[in-house]
């Protein structure tokens, strides 16, 4: 499902920092992988590259058999919105939109008909247990609830791939566990491939496979 072949990423800062250096790995369909490593090891960069938010300096990334390198910006975006859902550490909800509107966002961008969007959004919010908070603004929700909305948004099109960047990083332990459990449950329901970037050992251990990064290279790849 996800194939990285010799992917490197350099940032053109003054010193030319190497964020990723010749990374190879493959994630088959339906697998749940955690990516761990200390700060600056290249975890988030890796996730951004896989999600098509950024492009590698060299190497090739294949998503569902499609090579990202050859795609234009807009085609990359299309691939992203058809196949990938994002969950961010800081939720990245739009503060002026209601929960329902936030969840509906990707669907609107794809030009779905309104009725269908409405149905799907409500269905998703019910899925994450927020069917009573449809018209609330993000500011009116707790951190955990916000992340649930973010997850609902990421799942809005039932993407085959779910990318989560420190999904529990901004939550207390209890809420973090609930969110993690939600992700696990959803994966099983939907059969999605999930990549979770985390520096939380417990979160990593909950995943069947863990890839460890250090200084931009793969330091370990283990299955439980």
């Amino acid at each position: 499902m996800i194939q990285l072949s010799g992917v490197s990423k350099r940032f053109n800062g003054k010193r030319g920092v190497v964020a990723l250096d010749n990374v190879w790995f493959h994630v088959p369909r339906g697998e749940m992988v955690s990516i761990v490593g200390p700060s600056g090891s290249g975890k988030s960069t890796l996730l951004n590259l896989i999600g098509g938010l950024d492009r590698p300096t060299s190497g090739e990334i294949e998503i569902d058999g499609e090579r990202l390198g050859g795609l234009s910006d807009d085609n990359l975006t299309r691939l992203r919105r058809d196949k990938i859902g994002f969950i961010f550490q800081f939720f990245n909800l739009l503060p002026t939109l209601t929960c329902l509107e936030n969840v509906a966002l990707p669907l609107h961008l794809r030009g779905w008909p309104r009725r269908k969007i409405n149905e799907r959004s409500k269905e998703l919010l019910a899925l994450v247990g927020l069917d009573r908070r449809l018209d609330h603004l993000p500011d009116e929700l707790s951190g955990g609830e916000r992340q649930r909305v973010a997850i609902a948004r990421a799942l809005s099109i039932y993407p085959p791939i779910l990318l989560a960047d420190e999904p529990t990083g901004n939550l207390d332990t209890q809420t973090g566990w609930e969110i993690l459990k939600l992700i696990h449950d959803l994966r099983q329901q939907l059969g999605a491939t999930v990549l979770i970037v985390t520096h939380d050992r417990a979160v990593a251990e909950s995943c069947p496979r863990t890839i460890a990064l250090r200084d931009g290279r793969i330091a370990g790849d283990s299955r439980q």
């Binding site: 938010l53 950024d54 058809d82 961010f88 739009l94 939109l97 509107e101 509906a104 961008l109 794809r110």
Partner: protein, 850 residues
């Protein structure tokens, strides 16, 4: 100031585009102010210089408005004790058929006496062909030209030059060339001197002089002689120093000057909002920085000073650049104004050089800096009041406090009520302008609240149209009133200005067309000059009989137009056969009874005045109008007031016989020709040209041509307002660009999220565009509303203070409709750059942006 270098400079460097945009706001305002005034002053200066240079040693000049006076006046002036030398002058502008030369100012003088007033400083001819004063005097075709004109056209002594005279084109011979400088540099060197009697003939002046120039005996007081001459000649004559004669032209240019002032004031005003906007944004964006500074021990006044100094520096840079741009602009404008004055008022002038008046530039730069500082005052105060602790915390800081909103609203209500009160108190003069100002203030104070309210109102609509981009655009406006309200205010002002000016233009148009339908109904107009406003050439009345004899002509009406002074105001005196006139073109009286009005006027027992003159001088039917004429005081009751657009300064219609008696002048400026029912317009026109035009210089204009000409003049007048519109729109666009540039920075994360969840490039672009369109829309809506008030005040001011013309209040719906695409288009254009920046922005950085 060290803070300025450490804090401001890096910020400016980072936001170079926006800094430049901010400066442009002030720059434009100052440029327009300097440009329009410099051009105006240059033209007036050129007028005055021409007057001065032609005046030579002249200490006093005797005129009778534009009408001229009998030759015998000369001897009466010469006989006044204390007069050393008095010489008659005919001064008129002739069009010469040389490409690029335009007009030639003809000075008809009496060579015998004139040299004691003017130094002709003739070149000695090296060929030995001495320029002989006797030859100059003896030959009617003698001409003295200037060296620059001679050089430009390769003319030498004995060269010939064809000039149009009333009797058709005539060949003139150069009998002398004046050295450059002095008299030769008047009218940009396009000056020719001929014998006064030759000039009388050339321009159809009969036995009249336009003016007498004179010098007083040594030891005599000029004012004493002036009084003596005035007493000798009576009230129909003006005795002035050459220096004061330029003031009449200035008074004519007053309307233009007012228009220039309003335009630049608005440009500056709008510029002020851009600056306010920029600083308001800067203060919010630099909140954390200010917090750190405060935490490190900067006092409130230091912070305030920092921002005020920034704005002063920005204002100074913008103003100086604006002044420079204004001088460039003046070059283009001077030509335009010169053309306007010559077309509308029939006085031609060439402004050869544009000279910047240091006082004007000083004033403009001061105004620019003061505007800039004033605009930054509130943001600077807000910056100083920032709580260092709160500033360092992240979170919402944009929205206006409820208290601030309430204070604004109450101030707005008070302003609006005061404005109403001003109107209620009569609304004249100062009250009128105060009311106007208060209305503007109320509108400006209400802008943020109104903007917010409108944004909330249209959010569902936008959301319906574009669920994501639309809702977000509206939210962006709702969330950040500080960022947008300045721009919306600027837009509102621009739009309302356009509505006001457009409304006036349309109302004038409608009225003028209506007037033309009644007053200008002859089939043909026979004029001595190609444009109807220049009155250089005049016909002898016999030409009228010759036109009457042309087959197909049913009626010929003789009209004489001349500018005369009425209570110091240069008004247009129209002398015509009123009985004939009213049989064809009958304007209804708006004061007095129409039938009686014409009956009395035709009998020479009354005069008819235009409504604008009546309004400006507070005249009413039945009042006695006193008009000083060379042959004595003309005292007649006002038989009635009609709506008449003949002249911006007002017009007075009198019976032709009265004019003949009081001005002893039977020349004609214009023949109004009516055709027999079945006569062909073109055939009669040709026949007039053949029969009369062969021996008399004349132009036959059809009704259509005259109407087009008048509408073109009106257009030309209003084309000044197009400059204003252009400036207003430009400044407004700058404001939008400014706001959007900030907006896309502020919305980086939001746009990043959109991209991350699958927004395509066009969708991102669309989001920025919609925000811009929304700003444009809000500005447009508020502007259209404010425009209704502005138009009201514009009409009132023009009626009561400028032209006295009564115009019907009619909201210019068509213009409003036309404005929508213009403003929204401008908003879209303004969004192009920022949208691309938004599309190109890095996604990863955007998402990490906090």
């Amino acid at each position: 100031m060290i803070l300025l270098r450490l804090i401001t400079w890096p910020y400016v460097r980072k936001h170079l585009t926006r800094t430049a945009l901010t400066l442009t706001g002030i720059l434009l305002g100052v440029a327009v102010f300097v440009g329009m005034h410099t051009a105006n002053q240059s033209v007036l200066f050129a007028f005055q210089r021409t007057i001065d240079r032609i005046a030579g040693a002249t200490q006093l000049q005797v005129t009778a408005g534009e009408t001229g006076f009998d030759e015998s006046t000369l001897e009466r002036v010469q006989a006044v004790p204390g007069v050393r030398a008095a010489a008659p002058v005919i001064q008129a502008v002739a069009n010469i058929g040389i490409r690029g030369e335009g007009n030639l100012l003809i000075l008809g003088v009496d060579m015998l006496g004139d040299r004691s007033l003017r130094d002709y400083d003739l070149e000695e001819d090296d060929e030995g062909a001495v320029d002989d004063p006797l030859v100059f005097l003896a030959r009617a075709d003698s001409l003295i030209i200037t060296r620059p004109f001679a050089l430009r056209n390769h003319l030498t002594v004995n060269s010939t030059l064809v000039l149009d005279t009333v009797d058709g084109p005539k060949r003139f011979t150069v009998r002398g060339i004046m050295r450059s400088g002095g008299l030769a540099s008047a009218f940009g060197g396009n000056l020719a001197v001929m014998d006064i009697y030759a000039a009388q003939r050339m321009f159809g002046r009969g036995r009249k002089f336009d003016r007498i120039d004179l010098a007083v005996n040594e030891g005599e007081r000029i004012d004493a002689v002036q009084v003596r001459i005035e007493r000798t000649l009576g009230p129909g004559f003006q005795v002035r120093t050459p220096g004061s004669r330029g003031r009449e032209i200035e008074s004519i240019a007053a309307v233009y000057r007012l228009s220039a002032n309003i335009t630049s004031l608005f440009a500056l005003f709008i510029g002020m909002f851009i600056i306010y906007n920029t600083f308001a944004i800067a203060v919010t964006q630099r909140r954390a920085e200010i917090g750190i500074l405060r935490a490190l021990g900067a006092t409130q006044s230091q912070i305030r000073r920092l921002f005020l100094t920034e704005s002063a520096v920005a204002g100074a840079i913008g103003s100086v650049a604006g002044a420079a741009a204004g001088i460039l602009l003046a070059r283009a404008l001077a030509k335009y104004i010169g053309g306007l004055l010559s077309e509308v008022y029939g006085i031609g002038e060439r402004a050869e050089e544009v000279s910047a008046n240091p006082n004007l530039i000083g004033l403009a730069v001061t105004a620019g800096v003061v505007t800039s500082i004033a605009a930054a005052f509130l943001p600077a105060r807000n910056a100083a009041r920032i709580d260092p602790v709160k500033a360092l915390q992240k979170g919402k800081y944009e929205s206006l406090s409820e208290g601030e909103n309430r204070a604004r609203r109450s101030a707005a209500v008070i302003s609006a009520l005061s404005a109403f009160a001003c109107l209620g108190l009569g609304g004249r003069g100062v009250l009128l302008y105060t009311g106007y100002l208060l209305t503007l203030i109320a509108a400006l104070l209400l802008t943020p609240a109104a903007g917010l309210w409108l944004s909330r109102l249209i959010r569902p609509v936008l959301r319906r149209v574009r669920p994501v981009e639309g809702a977000l655009a509206a939210d962006s406006l709702i969330q950040t009133p500080r960022r947008t309200s300045g721009t919306i205010a600027a837009l509102m002002l621009s739009v309302s200005l356009v509505i006001a000016l457009g409304g006036m233009a349309r109302a004038s148009y409608a009225s003028i067309v209506q007037w033309m339908n009644i007053a200008l109904n002859p089939d043909l107009f026979v004029s001595a000059t190609q444009n109807l406003t220049a009155r250089s050439y005049r016909f002898p009345p016999e030409v009228g009989e010759r036109i009457q004899n042309v087959p197909g002509v049913a009626q010929v009406q003789l009209v004489r137009d001349a500018r005369v002074l009425y209570r110091g105001r240069p008004v247009m005196l129209v002398a015509a056969d009123i009985a004939g006139l009213v049989s064809r073109a009958r304007l209804p009286a708006i004061e007095g009874d129409t039938d009686r009005m014409y009956r009395e006027a035709a009998a020479g027992k009354g005069v008819i005045v235009s409504d604008n003159l009546a309004a400006l001088e507070n005249l009413h039917a039945g009042d006695i109008l006193e008009l000083a004429a060379p042959a004595g005081m003309l005292r007649l009751p006002i038989a009635g007031v009609v709506i008449d657009y003949s002249d911006q300064q007002g017009s007075i219609l009198i019976e032709r016989t009265l004019f003949r008696r009081y001005w002893n002048d039977d020349t004609v400026d214009l023949f109004r020709v009516y055709l027999e029912p079945r006569a062909s317009e073109s055939a009669v026109r040709q026949e007039i040209l053949n029969r009369v035009g062969s021996t008399t210089r004349l132009f036959v204009l059809t009704n259509r041509e005259v109407r087009d000409y008048i509408l073109r003049l009106t257009d030309q007048w209003f084309s000044l307002t197009y400059v204003q519109i252009a400036v207003a729109v430009l400044v407004a666009v700058l404001g939008i660009v400014n706001t959007l540039t900030v907006s896309i920075t502020d919305r980086r994360r939001e746009l990043g999220v959109l991209k991350a969840v699958g927004a395509l490039r066009r969708q991102i672009r669309g989001a920025v565009w919609i925000e811009s369109l929304t700003i444009g829309f809000l500005g447009l809506m508020l502007g259209l509303a404010l425009g209704a008030f502005q138009l009201f005040y514009a009409l009132e001011i023009s009626r009561r203070d400028i032209a006295g013309i009564r115009l019907e209040y009619q909201y210019p719906l068509k213009i409003a409709l036309a404005l929508a695409p213009v403003m929204l288009g401008a908003a879209l254009v303004a969004a192009l750059g920022p949208a691309e920046t938004a599309v190109r922005g890095s996604l990863v950085e955007a998402l990490e942006y906090e």
